[in-house]
Amino acid sequence: MSIGRRRLLKDGVCLGVGLTLSPALAPGQADPAALRPQQDDLLVRSGDAGATPLIPDDIKRAETQTLAWAMDPKDGTVRSGSRLNLVLLLRLDPARLSPDTRSRSADGIVGYTAICTHTGCEVEEWRAEEELLYCGCHGSMFDPKDGARVVDGPAPRMLPALPLKVVDGRLVVADAFTARVGFQAV
C-alpha cells in the first residue's frame, strides 16, 4: 500500500502544520523549484539539460511557441517543480499587440502560462495563419496578441500573462503572473 505525499500533507495538517501551511500551498512555499516564476528570474527552454538562459534571438517570429521554465538567477534552481509553472513564449509583431500586451512584452516576445484555464491541459498548438494558441484537449483558442483572451472553446478565462523584460541581453521575468495560474476550480 502506498499513499505518497498527500497522506504526509494531511498528517502534517493534523499535527498542527496546517496553522501555518495550507495543504495547497505547502509544496510551493517550501520548495523553490515549485515556486511560481519570480521577478528577475531567467528563462530556460523546457527539456534543455544544460539550462542555458534564453536570449531574445532564441525566440523566432512565426515559429510555434517555446515552452520554458523560470530559473532562479542566483542558484540556478529551475522552477519545474510544479507543472503549473510551465511558460509559453512567442515572438509577435509589436505593432499588432494590444497596449496591455505590448507593455508586458520584450522585443515583441510575450509570455503566458502554458496551462489551459479549462481543465489544465497544455496549450500546445500554434495556429500560425491565424496567430492563435490552441489547446487540443477541448478546443480552447486564445489570442496572444491581446492578453490571450479566449476566442473559442470552453476555457472560462484568459491565460495569465508573464511580464517579460530584457536585461543584459537575456530574457528575464519582469513580474509575477498577472493572475492565478491553473484550471477551473471545482
Binding site: M1, S2, I3, G4, R5, R6, R7, L8, L9, K10, D11, G12, L15, G16, V17, L21, P23, A24, A26, P27, A30, D31, A33, A34, V44, S46, G47, D48, A49, A51, W69, V78, S80, G81, S82, R83, L84, H118, T119, G120, C121, E122, E124, E125, R127, Y134, G136, C137, H138, G139, S140, M141, D152, G153, P154, G182, F183, Q184, A185, V186
Partner: protein, 587 residues
C-alpha cells in the same frame, strides 16, 4: 535532468515541516470527539456479494444497478400514465462545479454519490439529510484532464472511490473516514481516474485514464480489505506477450495508450469482466503501425487471474480519437432463430455492434452505423473488421475529414436496456464531423502526447444534433428516434419497469421522461444545470424514487463552446454547479 525531482523536493520540505511541528507542541490540540453515527447508518447492513449479483428490485447498488450494465430498474410504480405527477422531493447542492456524472447508489435508505473534486457524499435517500461528506480535493497541479467522477462502489461496510489523482480509496460506510488508500498510478506521469470501481468476486477493480499523456493503460484488482494489489493487466502488451505482434518493433508500446475510462460490466457465470479501452498513443496510427491490440477494443478479463481471455477490436490502428470508452452490455438476443449470449456495444466510431460472448473469445455477429459514418467502407461479414477509406484517415502531416466527430456518435454516457420492450436506448450525436491533422510529438512524462490538431464541423444541411435512439435488440432495427434541434446530448440513460426512459444531456438543462415504447416525451423539468449524470431509481419505504445529478462540464462544455464558435450566439454557455435531484410522484 531539469524536469525532475519534484516529489523528492516536496517530500523533503514536508518532512522538514513535520519535524518542526513535532517540536512545537502538537499536544495542544486534543483529538476531536467522535461524531455520533446517525441511526440510519447504525442500521446499515453490509452489502454482500450475493446481493450484488441478485439485488432487490428497489436496490441500486452499483453504477448500472446490475453487472450486465443494463441501467434498468424493474420497479414499476412510475408509469407513462402518472409520470406527469413526478416532482422534486429534495435537491442538494454539491458545492462544486465541473461535470457531475456519477449515479446515486442506494442501499438501506442511504444514498451515496461522488462528485468532482474527490468528494463522496452520504445522504438519507428519502429526505436529503446529509450524513457524511468525504472531501479530499486534489493538489492544484493534479493532472486530471477530465475533472469528474463516474461513481462509487459498495461492498460489505465500505465505499470504494477512485480519485482523480489515481488513488483507490476505501471509506467506512458509517463515517466516511478513509480506511485505506492505494496509489494505482503516477499522476505526475499522466495517470488519472474518472471511473467507478467494479466489485466482482471479492475484488475491487479499476483502470486508469491518461491516453492523451502517453500512459500505458491497465486494469488492476485490489484486495477489498487491505488495498493490496492482486493483479494488473495492461491493455497494451509488452514485447512477446499475446497481441504484441500488432505493434511495431520499438518502444511504442510503453506509451501506447489504451485508457480505461469507464467501469467494466461483468458475467458472474464465466467470471469475465468486459472493459472498453481507449485510443492508442499518440493519436496518429502512423506513429505505431499495426492494429495495436488491445486499443479501441473490448477485452474480456478473467477476474480470478487478470488474464485477457477474449477481445474484439472496433477500430484497428485507431487514428480518430475514437476511444472505445464504454463497455458492452450483456444481453441475450435473438438472431436467425437462435438465442445469442450477447454483448452489445454502441461504439464511439459510429457503429452499433452485436457480438457473442463465451467463456473466452468474443465473436462478431453484426455491425451497422447508427449515425452518419464515412470512414468504414464495409465490415468483413465474418470478422467484423472494418475496411477503412484511406482518404478519411488522418496521419502525421496529413489532414483528413471524417464523421462522426472525434467525440464519436456516442461518447461515454451509457446506454440502457429494457427487457420488456427489448430495446436499447442510445444517447447519440448526429451530424457532427471533425478534421484532424497529425503533428510530430515527443514523449515527456506528464506532458501532452496527442500529436494531433482538430477542427470541428456541423454537417451541411443538418437539422438537429442530439438524438435519443431506441433499437430492438432481437431485430437489430431502429424503432424510434427523438431529435434535439439545437443541442447535442450527453445524457446517460435509465429505463424502468414502468415503461419509461429517463435522461438529460441537453443544453436546455432539462431532465426528461420518455415513453419507452413510443419515444414520446411525457415529462420534463429544467434543473439548475445541464444533466450529464447517470440517473438511478430506488425504493425506500415502498415508494419509488428517481435520482440524478445535474452539473454540466468537461466534454459537454467543450462541445457546446465549439458549437457556439461554429454558430455564434446559438450555443451560449450552460449554467454550471452541481446538485443532486431526487424525484417521486405527488402523494
Amino acid at each position: 535532468m531539469l524536469e525532475t525531482p519534484r516529489l523528492i523536493a516536496s517530500l523533503s520540505a514536508i518532512l522538514a515541516a513535520l519535524a518542526m511541528a513535532a517540536g512545537s507542541g502538537s499536544a495542544q490540540q486534543p483529538p476531536a470527539p467522535p461524531v455520533p453515527v446517525p441511526p440510519i447508518l447504525q442500521r446499515y447492513t453490509p452489502v454482500t456479494a450475493e446481493r450484488l449479483r441478485a439485488p432487490e428490485d428497489g436496490d441500486w447498488l452499483m453504477i448500472r444497478r446490475t453487472y450486465n450494465g443494463w441501467g434498468y430498474s424493474p420497479v414499476n410504480q412510475i408509469t407513462p400514465a402518472n409520470v406527469g405527477r413526478l416532482r422534486p422531493v429534495w435537491v442538494f447542492s454539491t458545492g462544486v462545479t465541473s461535470g457531475h456524472e456519477a449515479p446515486p447508489l442506494v442501499h438501506d435508505g442511504v444514498l451515496f454519490v461522488s462528485t468532482p473534486g474527490n468528494q463522496v457524499l452520504a445522504i438519507e435517500a428519502a429526505t436529503g439529510r446529509p450524513l457524511w461528506r468525504y472531501s479530499d480535493p486534489p493538489l492544484e497541479d493534479v493532472i486530471a484532464l477530465h475533472r469528474t467522477s463516474r461513481g462509487v462502489a459498495l461492498l460489505g461496510d465500505k465505499v470504494y472511490f477512485a480519485s482523480a489523482d489515481a488513488r483507490l480509496v476505501a471509506l467506512d460506510v458509517r463515517t466516511g473516514k478513509e480506511i485505506w488508500a492505494t496509489r494505482i498510478g503516477d499522476n505526475a506521469s499522466g495517470y488519472y481516474m474518472t471511473l467507478a470501481p467494479l466489485v466482482a468476486q471479492g475484488k475491487v477493480l479499476v483502470g486508469a485514464s491518461g491516453g492523451e499523456l502517453g500512459i500505458r493503460g491497465f486494469v488492476a484488482a485490489f484486495d477489498p480489505d487491505t488495498g493490496s494489489e492482486l493483479w494488473r493487466t495492461f491493455t497494451v502488451p509488452a514485447p512477446g506477450e499475446p497481441g504484441s505482434e500488432t505493434w511495431p518493433r520499438g518502444d511504442q508500446w510503453k506509451t501506447g495508450g489504451g485508457s480505461v475510462w469507464i467501469t467494466g460490466n461483468y458475467d458472474p457465470e464465466t467470471n469475465l469482466a468486459y472493459w472498453g479501452t481507449g485510443n492508442g498513443g499518440p493519436w496518429m496510427g502512423d506513429r505505431r503501425p499495426g492494429d495495436n491490440l488491445y486499443t479501441a477494443s473490448t477485452i474480456a478479463i478473467d477476474v480470478a487471474t487478470g488474464r485477457i481471455k477474449g477481445h474484439f477490436q472496433y477500430t484497428p490502428n485507431e487514428s480518430w480519437d475514437w476511444d472505445e470508452v464504454s463497455p458492452p452490455i450483456l444481453v441475450d438476443y435473438e438472431r436467425n432463430g437462435r438465442t445469442v449470449k450477447g454483448l452489445i456495444d454502441v461504439a464511439r466510431n459510429g457503429y452499433l455492434w452485436f457480438l457473442e460472448r463465451s467463456d473466452g473469445p468474443i465473436r462478431f455477429v453484426e455491425g451497422k452505423p447508427y449515425v452518419k459514418q464515412n470512414v468504414f467502407r464495409r465490415l468483413d461479414p465474418k470478422t467484423g473488421r472494418p475496411e477503412i477509406d484511406p482518404a478519411r484517415k488522418p496521419g502525421t502531416g496529413t489532414k483528413a475529414a471524417f464523421c462522426p466527430s472525434l467525440w464519436g456518435g456516442k461518447n461515454w454516457p451509457p446506454i440502457a436496456f429494457n427487457p420488456t420492450t427489448r430495446m436499447i436506448y442510445i444517447p447519440a450525436n448526429e451530424n457532427l464531423c471533425s478534421e484532424i491533422e497529425g503533428r510530430e510529438v515527443n514523449y515527456v512524462p506528464g506532458r501532452s502526447f496527442t500529436g494531433g490538431i482538430s477542427t470541428f464541423q456541423v454537417a451541411p444541411g443538418a437539422d438537429h444534433i442530439g438524438e435519443v435512439q431506441a433499437w430492438n435488440v432481437d431485430t437489430g432495427e431502429r424503432v424510434w428516434t427523438h431529435t434535439f434541434e439545437k443541442s447535442p446530448t450527453w445524457g446517460p440513460m435509465l429505463t424502468t419497469g414502468g415503461g419509461l426512459v429517463f435522461t438529460g444531456g441537453t443544453n436546455d438543462r432539462m431532465f426528461r421522461a420518455f415513453d419507452a415504447t413510443t419515444g414520446k416525451v411525457l415529462w420534463e423539468v429544467a434543473t439548475n444545470s445541464g444533466v450529464i449524470g447517470q440517473p438511478s431509481s430506488f425504493v425506500v419505504d415502498g415508494r419509488q424514487y428517481i435520482a440524478v445529478q445535474a452539473g454540466w462540464g468537461v466534454d459537454s462544455r467543450g462541445m457546446q463552446a465549439r458549437l457556439d464558435a461554429v454558430s455564434p450566439g446559438e450555443f451560449p454557455p450552460v449554467p454550471e454547479g452541481g446538485a443532486i435531484w431526487v424525484f417521486a410522484l405527488d402523494r
